[in-house]
Amino acid sequence: MFASITPSRLKPTRTHGIFAGFAPEDGAETRAVAADLPAIMRWSGVLSSLTSEELRGLFRFLVLSRGLEERLEHLLKQGQVVGDLYDGRGQEATVVGSAFALEEGDWLAPSLREMGALLTRGLDPRMLLLQYLARDGSPSAGRDKAHHLTIPHLGLLGPIGPLGAHLCVLNGVALAFRMRGERRICLTYLGDGASRTGAAHEGLNLAAVQRLPLVVILIHNRWAFATRSDQQAAVADWIDVAAAYGVPAASVDGNDVLHVYDETRRAVDRARRGEGVTLIVAETYRMHGHAQHDAQEYVPEQELQEWRARDPIDLFERYLIDSGFESRPSLAVVKEAVRRELAAAVEEALSAPMPKPEGARFGTVEGEHIPFPWTRREAVYEDVGQPTMRP
């Protein structure tokens, strides 16, 4: 019925806009030619540009992200997670690799499946656990869920339910950087579905005409809830959407953390030089349903199998071992440390209290209570049911 989209049909790196004319030393042409070479050879340059701490860090965030989501799945089944879990299984390389290209002071806005990006930017897994468990002491004090958190000192801007809107708001952060003459940049994510909203279009267009310091990662994960990406846009290749905005674009193998990191780094540098917006299309796959309630029966099993064979964590583990940067035992040590960290974090989160009901009335910022400022006449509402009597 539908043409099966499999990794084997993925094109090698394709670029247009300013990247199209890149000289070979910039790597673009070299990579295109080298697409069929073993990944370890294609990425040897990137591998050696990172320190061993950085490589291990990348691996740790991939494992941490998946581990935390697995813990949350378990907690959901136990009835501890309030609501549902919209996980990013299979997309970890896209979000960790891109967030890893940012520097201190930069801002990032997740969409709904970018757990790994939040962790990579320094968010404590315990904070995310508290958010999902709707506990007091969570960054939103129980007022909001999941990735909906804004933490200025980490440069994190929370999205809202209607996706795409966060791009418009992140534009304002980028505008502020530019007005202050700061060389900080912003990065955000849109799924193939979210990228079709009016807000995403308006936001990308404004960013383009204003040449804001922004990188947009369009995660082509094939599914928006239960709707295929070919029902979202009539483009043959998602990189084509960039042309309408006049922004340069690149597509990357979203399951290859080094490819994502390398291309994002380029876009980040470009934004930091004041050269404006870059769109990066990450070709990847949503391995789970829309949320845990969704058994994704509409997804062809063969497609899942093919993408499962290219699991982003397995892929990177293989690079590291084959290239000799890491050994299997040393990576096992990283995994075990993450496992223990998460076990302790879960235990701690489960012992955190639920918020007090009257907390619904006040805003909490890092322990400070701020009266909900617009209900100046709170007493009026408290007295409902007992009308004032004439003396």
């Binding site: 960054p139 939103s140 004090a141 007022r143 909001d144 909906h148 958190l149 804004t150 933490i151 200025p152 801007l157 929370g158 809202i160 339910g161 209607p162 809107a165 791009l167 418009c168 708001v169 992140l170 534009n171 304002g172 952060v173 980028a174 505008l175 502020a176 950087f177 530019r178 007005m179 009016g198 807000a199 308006e202 936001g203 267009n205 404004l206 005409v209 204003q210 805003g363 909490t364 910022v365 890092e366 701020i370 909900f372 400022p373 617009w374 209900t375 100046r376 006449r377 009026v380 007295d383 409902v384 009308p387 004032t388 009597m389 004439r390």
Partner: protein
């Protein structure tokens, strides 16, 4: 003879000299808005303006004429026709410590930014603890024969959204003072400026006084003892006309309250007035169903039911879109005669 001669000499002097002598300056409602932004932008580098045609053209109503030359394209930003992107960028910049003013060319065009206002700006402080001190302003209201999409009063669309403040000035003084207060406010403020009043309202405003009108405080426009008219925006002037007519023809004194701020609503001033007069008529230019009058009437019932000597009544626009042709629009909008009729019925109750 001498008197009239000296008067004509005075009239020939440059207006600035005359103003300096009086200590006041004749200011239209539109100039008041312009001055509020100009002064805030001059004193606070965090204030900037973005919107459609606000720079090169100086705004559809010429409110920001000259701003681009004075403040430059970094602070006076001509945007694409993208209300969601305009408000979104204002929210983000506000998170970073800026105080953006987002202009809607007509307040009707706020509809494409609805999600950004009700789901992002209004909720963000509550959800995350990080506020969004921005102002969204634009021309509202009918009487200009501008049809269904350039005449609306949109306050009720936002009335049920916690987290927003809303102001609707009627006088030049309030237009200036409320806008300055709105720009300085730590939360999102929707500022509804009535286009019918732009050039029709002229007031002598003091030159040296810094005019700031705090949000959340109503104003007694005309004191009275027999009936309270609660209203705001351009309807103030029709209520005033009705009160004068009833005073002359019936000898009854109507109090006219100008709400100025719609959220937070100054319930205590309304209740205090109603307890004195025993009758309350609520007038607004927006349609009736789900309008502000309903909320105000409920609050009066909760706070002052036993003081009422007559049923609460409402005079509002029809529950239709704003029609275009002048006779239709006049029929649609609340008129002085409607207010007089309702007030007389209540006084006779």
């Amino acid at each position: 003879m001498n008197d009239s001669k000296s008067e004509s000499v005075a009239q020939n002097r440059p207006p600035e000299d005359q103003e300096a002598e009086r200590g006041t300056k004749e200011t239209t409602y539109l100039e008041a808005i312009r001055e509020a932004m100009w002064e805030e932008m001059t004193t606070d580098p965090a204030v900037f303006l973005l919107g459609e045609d606000v720079g090169t053209y100086g705004g559809a109503f010429k409110i920001t004429e000259g701003f681009l030359d004075e403040f430059g394209p970094e602070r006076i930003i001509d945007t694409p026709i993208s209300e969601a992107a305009i408000v979104g960028a204002a929210i983000g910049a506000a998170h970073m410590g800026f105080k953006p003013i987002a202009e809607m060319q007509f307040i009707d065009f706020i509809a494409p930014a609805f999600d950004m206002i009700v789901n992002f700006a209004a909720k963000v402080r509550y959800r995350t603890g990080v506020g969004a001190p921005l102002v969204i302003r634009g021309p509202c209201g009918g009487g200009a024969h501008a049809g269904p999409f350039h005449s609306q009063n949109v306050e009720s669309y936002f009335a049920n959204v916690a987290g927003l403040k809303m102001v609707a000035p009627a006088t030049a003084r309030d237009a200036k003072g409320l806008l300055r207060a709105a720009i300085r406010d730590p939360d999102p403020v929707l500022y509804f400026e009535h286009k019918y009043l732009y050039r029709r309202i002229k007031e002598e405003l003091p030159i040296d006084e810094e005019i700031i009108v705090p949000l959340g405080a109503a104003r007694t426009h005309r004191p009275g003892s027999d009936l309270t008219i609660v209203t705001y925006g351009a309807m103030i002037y029709k209520a005033e006309e009705a009160a004068s007519r009833i005073s002359e023809e019936d000898g009854a004194e109507l109090e006219v309250l100008d709400l100025r701020t719609l959220r937070p609503l100054d319930t205590s001033t309304i209740v205090e007035s109603v307890k004195r007069t025993g009758r309350v008529l609520i007038v607004h230019e927006a349609p009736r169903f789900g309008g502000f009058a309903g909320e105000i009437a409920s609050q009066i019932c909760e706070e002052a039911f036993e003081w009422l000597d007559a049923p609460i009544r409402r005079v509002t626009a029809l529950d239709t879109p704003v029609p275009f042709s002048p006779p239709l629009e006049e029929y649609y909008l609340p008129q002085t005669a409607d207010i007089v009729d309702a007030a007389r019925w209540m006084l006779a109750y």
